[in-house]
Assembly symmetry: C2
Homo-oligomer: 114 residues x 2
Amino acid sequence: MTPKNQKAKAVSKVCCGTARDIPLSERDADELAAVFTALSDPVRLRLLSIISSAPEGEVCACDLVTPIGKSQPTVSHHLKILFEAGLVDREKRGVWVWYRAVPERMSAVASRLR
Amino acid sequence: MTPKNQKAKAVSKVCCGTARDIPLSERDADELAAVFTALSDPVRLRLLSIISSAPEGEVCACDLVTPIGKSQPTVSHHLKILFEAGLVDREKRGVWVWYRAVPERMSAVASRLR
DNA sequence: AGTAGATATTGACAACTATCGATATTCTAA
DNA sequence: TTAGAATATCGATAGTTGTCAATATCTACT
């Protein structure tokens, strides 16, 4: 356990202290990890960057396939993951689906990194 | 492409505008995604939470195995991933390895979420 | 109704990852 | 130098994930 008497970074012979409990609960860790998993793919990050920077605040899904350079099912799959993570919102209008960023969600996640 | 003339959110028959280029480059997306991948595991998040909240600013690896409840090789593996992502720093002192958080790295990542 | 276009779902496959037991490496102390 | 302890690496395995082709679903228009 915790090496004690680490004065001036000297090496002590005593090791390993009492186990404190973990600040982040298992449940919270699972939830947070889920969001980071949604952010852990370069294609999704690029999708997010397009959606977040849209001048009109929203982007049609049809405008995402070509620039991203992946198949339509793949883009649809990634958008679903971003949506389920709460990072984007969507609205169906006619045949098209419009995506918008959820900045509160992003800042909430960002704040968990201190 | 982009449906035009979306007055009052009406559905237009014109779709899909010109492809703008993507704000986030492929290279930047890859790098960012790598950090989020490091953050996408609950065990690593809990390790980070322990290390970040250490009163002395550092934690001995030997103090992480028992609370986390995983095998020593597994904890070592996760610590390596956190280290390689730049999220923690480490220093070997004698037989022990001491880990500390890298808050600048965390805020740098956090700021990429706006 | 019937057609055409946009998006979602399914199924399959390759690549990656978390995990552990066993083992190797590194360091201290006797 | 030998023993013992802390950490890292290796090898194997089960589970997850990104990708696409094929297909289904939904909507608008004729």
